[in-house]
């Protein structure tokens, strides 16, 4: 199994932990944490939209990744989102892919609904 998939199992991922153990501010709690996750999910969906997938927050401690076809997976943190989305989309995800970057440039911020592949 990929080291990256398992490396943060059982712990807070660095993108969501507190200052000096993660985020650029103190660890968020309650409503601030919830809003932070919604913001993260909105940005993630700008990416996943290109691959025909979408993510949503689940109880502020998991993410659900799903496709239009109804395939879904529940994951704990960002790296696992990419693993799940890749499997669900059936193709590799690549942040350097010019086609993805073109999509990001051309897609309005509110257009985050999953696109049909």
């Amino acid at each position: 199994m990929c080291a990256f998939c398992t490396m943060m199992a059982g712990g807070t991922h660095w993108t969501e932990a507190g200052t000096d153990a993660g985020r650029a501010a103190e660890p968020e709690t309650g409503r601030a944490r919830y809003l932070g996750r919604l913001n993260r999910v909105a940005l993630i969906n700008r990416i996943l939209n290109h691959y025909g997938c979408a993510a949503s927050d689940w109880a502020s401690n998991q993410y659900v990744v799903k496709s239009h076809a109804g395939r879904s997976a529940m994951v704990a943190h960002l790296p696992q989102i990419w693993v799940a989305a890749e499997e669900i989309a059936g193709r590799p995800l690549d942040p350097l892919d010019p086609a993805l970057l073109d999509t990001l440039r051309s897609t309005a911020p509110k257009e985050t609904a999953p696109a049909t592949q």
């Binding site: 080291a3 660095w14 650029a24 993260r40 940005l43 960002l78 790296p79």
Partner: protein, 349 residues
């Protein structure tokens, strides 16, 4: 930060076969600042010798039983550290405050760093302090050319100790230094004759130590600036002084505006998911939107260490600077991608 800083730092000493790791350790362990260090050693071929030498100086030495730290006995590394931890807790051994792990000469150090940061038990007691890599002055160029492990060891280093400079001709040493600068320009290069090294300078590489992190980040930036200047002078095309030399090259991306932390995390995790094998090192100082103090990030392949805040900017330069050491990934693609990800955060704001 406070809690993370209280964890026992682990200094990883790596370097190719015969490059002088044990000789260096023998010297370093005599320094008062390492009087409270425990040592784990593991070496192909010269196990008995290494064990004897190190054990003679430090009763806390444990010889790992298997031959390779990086894969088959990663569990042994974990078990050995946990065993040391238990014995320390029970008072059976002196209360060491640093742990030194000497890798095999053929080890890829990345899985060792992974073990330290990912294991659910270890990460609550230990943290990575720094990586010290010994490079043989006489044979280093040939080893870097022929052995990918040697390159890997150089790219993950915070400090590179050039050994045997007294028996290396000046031209070879200069070419080796230049090669190492191209591979990992932000690692301080220090020479050691028969292991004699400036120990405090070696130990200042710990960016999680409140006493050293500001100076260490300033040094990163100074090294990169010097490398940029050398590149401009020598090749006239800025930071990529090494891009034509080999598949592995380093470069620095600089961004004028503030970066969105959430977008940066999304981008870096996705980059490492897809290209982690090729991102040998990423470290940098970030101007993060919504905060006055800079954030320092530090990663080796798939392993990203907990980012930290500096109390203040190390200089008047408020730009974000991110140093990459990559294997065959184009700088332009990485720069364009990060800018695009940051832009979607700005659009959403």
């Amino acid at each position: 930060m406070a809690a993370y800083a209280r964890l026992t730092p682990v200094i990883v000493v790596t370097g190719f076969l015969g490059s002088g790791k044990t000789t260096l350790l023998n010297h370093m362990l005599r320094h008062p600042s390492l009087a409270d260090a425990a040592v784990l050693v593991n070496e192909f071929g010269a196990v008995g010798l290494d064990h004897f030498l190190v054990e003679a100086m430090d009763e806390n030495t444990v010889l790992l039983e298997s031959g390779c730290l990086c894969c088959t006995i990663r569990g042994d590394l974990k078990d050995s550290i946990i065993d040391l931890n238990s014995r320390r807790a029970r008072g059976e051994i002196p209360p060491y405050r640093r742990l030194i792990v000497e890798t095999t000469g053929l080890a890829d150090p990345a899985p060792i760093l992974f073990t330290l940061s990912a294991d659910t038990v270890l990460k609550h007691h230990y943290r990575l302090g720094s990586v010290i890599t010994t490079v043989d002055g006489v044979n280093g160029l040939r080893q870097l050319k022929r052995h990918p492990e040697s390159v890997k060891q150089a790219t993950v280093a915070d400090r590179i100790v050039l050994t045997k400079p007294d028996i290396t001709d000046a031209d070879t040493l200069a070419r080796l230094r230049a090669k190492l600068t191209r591979l990992n320009g932000s690692a301080d290069q220090i020479t050691a004759v028969n292991g004699a090294v400036d120990v405090p300078r070696v130990l200042r590489a710990d960016i999680y130590d409140a006493r050293t992190k500001g100076a260490e980040v300033r040094r990163w930036l100074a090294e990169e600036a010097a490398k940029d200047a050398a590149g401009d002078h020598a090749h006239g095309h800025g930071r990529d002084v090494s891009r034509h030399d080999a598949h592995i090259h380093s470069f620095t991306l600089s961004f004028e505006g503030a970066l969105d932390w959430t977008a940066f995390g999304i981008w870096l995790t996705m980059l490492l998911h897809t290209h982690g094998e090729k991102v040998l090192r990423v470290k940098g100082i970030l101007n993060v939107a919504g905060t006055d103090a800079p954030v320092v990030v530090n990663g080796v392949q798939h392993v990203v260490h907990p980012p930290i805040h500096l109390r203040a900017w190390p200089s008047g330069d408020r730009r974000s600077h991110i140093v990459f050491i990559v294997d065959d990934l184009p700088r332009e693609a990485i720069e364009r991608s990060l800018a695009a990800f940051n832009r979607i955060a700005a659009e959403a704001a």
